[in-house]
Amino acid sequence: MRSGWRPFVLVLLSALASGATVAVAAFAASGTATNSLAPVESFASIADPAKRSAAYFTELGKVLTNPRCTNCHPAGDRPRQGDDAHLHQPPVFRGVDGMGLPSMRCSTCHQAANFDPGRVPGHTVWHLAPIEMAWEGKTVSQICAQIKDPARNGGRSLDDLIDHIGKDTLVGWAWAPGVGRTPAPGTQAEAGALVEAWVKSGAACP
């Protein structure tokens, strides 16, 4: 299924893109399975801080390109759903505030918590990421440049990103998505640790 091989393909593409990236990408690809995240300590052997920083982000890219994240960071005005990232059914749209059209708000169906009998995921502030934060179809490198840009990351500083990815409860839903959906790789704490390590090592992009 797409969620399984997609991060690997991205790693492979970035490996092909530059010789310097090959060692880093190979580390991430061979170091962990696609459904887990390499611990921050395992990157210590990469001496060059910029290469190490980029390697942290490459590993984090497994999460950022996962359907649990990209489905609600779509490139268009309709969210996607499922591990195969099909267009959301029923056909709902972003709306001006990212919470749906007036006649079909996200909260109409998405309640405060997952409702597994109805296969409906939930959270108190279920909504789409703003269009400028669209990740769907982007490479890890492109997402890296985007996520560092306050104009395209919700006005966040690099430090804000540590908490946003590591502690925000809506982001955290990706690791507890309810029945029928594969959780994002690793744990939210591990993802947060990777962001922190990436920021503190200079926030280099792969």
């Binding site: 708000r105 409702f115 109805g118």
Partner: protein, 171 residues
């Protein structure tokens, strides 16, 4: 288990203990026997199962019940198809649906009725220009599926109710 108390068609229900995984549709149909609310697709696609939820500020909206836990309706005030007619007297909308032969099997009708009622109440608060009426009705009923009679007759029925009382609904 969780505790549920809510108001349905002006009558208080509960507090009662329900399973966490009980859907609102099953609560209405199986627990209370209010079978006017239908179960169609079970996937938030057809809105045959939609009920009216009344907010404290006097506005209302419709909500599917098939994919939503009954527990999420705790403390809410809702209306179902059983709550429209008063003392056996059908509402103008219900009469309009009959006069226009808006439904055949009737499975989608509770959803259309609830949605149209919410629209009428909205228009009574915020009137709409005649020129915008068709679009307003179409947008309001969008999302409700009917496999028998199509959508035109529902649309015509709602339009007639509005046009019969222009001072109330039209700017």
């Amino acid at each position: 288990m969780t505790t549920l108390a809510l108001t349905i068609n002006g009558r208080a229900y509960g507090p009662t203990e329900i399973r966490d995984d009980l859907s609102m549709n099953d609560f209405l149909r199986e627990v209370l026997g209010l079978t006017g609310t239908k179960f169609g697709c079970g996937a938030a696609q057809c809105l045959a199962c939609a009920v009216i939820v009344d907010r404290e500020d006097g506005t209302s909206y419709t909500n599917p019940t098939c994919i939503v836990a009954a527990a999420n309706f705790n403390g809410k005030t809702i209306r179902t198809v059983e709550g429209h007619a008063q003392n056996g007297e059908l509402t103008a909308l219900q009469k309009g649906f009959i006069e226009h032969f808006s439904f055949q099997c009737g499975y989608c009708t509770p959803g259309f009725l609830n949605e149209s009622q919410v629209l009428l109440e909205r228009l009574a608060k915020t009137k709409v220009a005649r020129a915008d009426l068709e679009k307003t009705i179409a947008e309001a009923l969008d999302g409700h599926l009917c496999r028998c009679t199509g959508y035109v007759k529902y649309h015509q029925a709602v339009r007639d109710v509005v046009l019969a009382d222009p001072d109330r609904y039209l700017a």
